[in-house]
């Protein structure tokens, strides 16, 4: 029981009780505590890793989406541009075609009018001719009803024919 000389009784009790304490705590405390701590840490670890992966995936998705959107936008712009070009070209074409058509119609009309005129002039000429003949006939018929005049005329015509 002196300060520097360990007593055999306390050594024995300490050994016994400490070892018993160790085995009891190992079985009923440390085992559960340590395994729970470990599994929780693993859970947290895997959860963190998963979050990291998800974040990376999200970022990838986002960049993919952005790329898709940019592509779609570019395509849309191209389409619009093309459509504009097509429509303006179509308008242009339609315009030129219309003016061409109009010119052609005008030409045809002009031609038709000229043709018409010619035939009209012809028929007019014929009409006027036949009218003149009719008139002449009627005049002659009236002139020739008078015998004296007839003879006079014949003689005149005769003299004229002679002269020619």
């Amino acid at each position: 029981m002196e300060l520097l000389t360990p007593g055999i009784g306390l050594i024995a009790w300490q050994l016994l009780i400490f070892l018993a304490l160790f085995f009891v705590l190992r079985k009923f405390a440390w085992k559960g505590i340590l395994s729970a701590l470990k599994s929780r840490e693993e859970e947290i670890d895997s959860a963190l890793r998963m979050a990291e992966e998800t974040r990376a995936e999200m970022a990838k998705l986002k960049s993919d989406n952005e790329k898709l959107i940019a592509e779609a936008r570019a395509e849309r712009d191209a389409l619009i541009k093309e459509a504009k070009m097509t429509s303006s070209r179509m308008v242009e074409e339609a315009k030129s075609k219309a003016s061409q058509e109009a010119g052609k119609i005008l030409e045809d009309a002009r031609e038709a009018i000229a043709q018409e005129r010619i035939t009209m002039v012809d028929s007019l000429r014929k009409e006027v001719g036949s009218l003149a003949i009719d008139i002449a006939e009627k005049v002659i018929k009236k002139e020739l009803s008078d015998k004296g005049a007839q003879t006079k005329l014949v003689s005149e015509l005769m003299s004229e024919a002679k002269l020619n």
Binding site: L10, L21, L25, L34
Partner: protein
């Protein structure tokens, strides 16, 4: 800075004390009795000269029966074995009743011998104050950590709560800062031992600081057993590499080997010896300092010294609480390092 301040306060307190000392003895007793557990000492020695060394030794050594305060002693069983009388079990109260004598047994300064044969070896396996305190601490530890374990079962996959969250940082610190780096990849097998060791030393250091309690970790028998368990563990688990290092240290010429064997054996034995003495000396030393300051009160018997001792005693107690943690930490750390060194795989020097 703080120390200086304390010193100044203490010195001024002392100078005043000598001027106004011995003013009111009775009152100074009351000042002390409020804080400390040494009232009984004081009363006992109020008339006679105060025996500081005896008081300190009484407090740091083991005893048969547990004297919380003067006149309030719990008798504990005495278990003795002698070749002559065989095994005898009786209460320590028997000695107190008869001036340290009971039947054939005589107890003088806590040492039991035989009346009939003074030189007979008496095997004293009594439940002394330290053994009782040891049992108490074991029960407390079991209660605490089964409660903690229950918390882990109850809160599986959830955040810790209550006593569980109080101990979890300590457990993880021991695991991650002490055992894991010192022992290496195989640390898990040693974790239960190291945790038991740490909390056992810690709780007994703290119990030792409680007034009226036993100075268990300041007892060389206790620290010796702890160091020996570590020692046995180291040498049971040691690998070929460790033994080869002792038997044939690399790069040592053959004729020097005997010298190295001596050095290596001393080194091997020094490890448990240093573990034993470090814990024992730190805790006992702390108690002696604390008790010496408190003893001053009974030597000077003045208000002023009482006040000074109160201040410095509080400060010392806080330091002792720190030491309680540090020593538990160091014992566990060194045990881990010794085991880590013994199971370490070979590496080049």
């Amino acid at each position: 800075m703080f120390k200086k301040l304390l010193l100044t306060v203490l010195l001024s307190v002392f100078s005043i004390s000598f001027l106004s000392a011995q003013h009111d003895e009775e009152a100074s007793h009351e000042v002390v009795s409020g804080n400390e557990d040494f009232v009984e000492r004081h009363e006992e020695h109020a008339e006679e000269a105060f025996d500081m060394g005896g008081m300190i030794m009484h407090h740091i050594l083991d005893e048969h029966g547990w004297e919380f305060a003067h006149g309030f002693k719990i008798p504990l069983p005495i278990i003795v074995y002698t070749a002559q009388n065989g095994l005898d079990i009786f209460s320590s109260a028997r000695f107190d009743e008869n001036n340290g004598e009971y039947g054939d047994y005589v107890m003088h300064h806590e040492k039991i011998s035989l009346k009939s044969d003074h030189h007979a070896t008496v095997w004293d396996f009594s439940i002394t104050k330290n053994v009782a305190s040891l049992l108490l601490s074991a029960v407390i530890l079991i209660l605490i950590f089964t409660a903690v374990a229950k918390g882990y079962k109850k809160n599986a996959g959830k955040a810790p709560s209550g006593i569980q969250s109080f101990f979890e940082p300590v457990i993880t610190t021991i695991r991650d800062e002490v055992v894991k780096p010192s022992i290496g990849p195989k640390y898990e097998a040693y974790l239960p031992y190291m945790l038991t060791l740490f909390f056992f030393i810690l709780i007994n250091n703290l119990i030792g600081l409680t007034p009226g309690a036993a100075n268990l970790t300041g007892n060389i028998a206790v620290t010796l057993v702890l160091a020996l368990i570590t020692f046995v563990m180291v040498h049971f688990k040691a690998n070929k590499n460790y033994w080869m290092h002792i038997v044939k240290p690399p790069g040592v010429p053959g004729w020097l080997l005997p010298l190295f064997w001596i050095i290596e054996i001393i080194g091997v034995l020094m490890k448990p010896a240093s573990l034993t003495i470090r814990l024992f000396a730190n805790i006992t030393g702390g108690h002696i300092i604390l008790l010496s300051f408190i003893g001053l009160v009974f030597m000077f018997k003045s208000y002023a010294v009482g006040g000074g001792v109160w201040a410095i005693g509080t400060f010392m107690s806080l330091i002792e609480i720190l030491v309680a943690f540090i020593q538990a930490y160091i014992f566990t750390l060194l045990s881990s390092m010794y085991i880590g060194g013994a199971i370490e795989e070979h590496h080049d020097h």
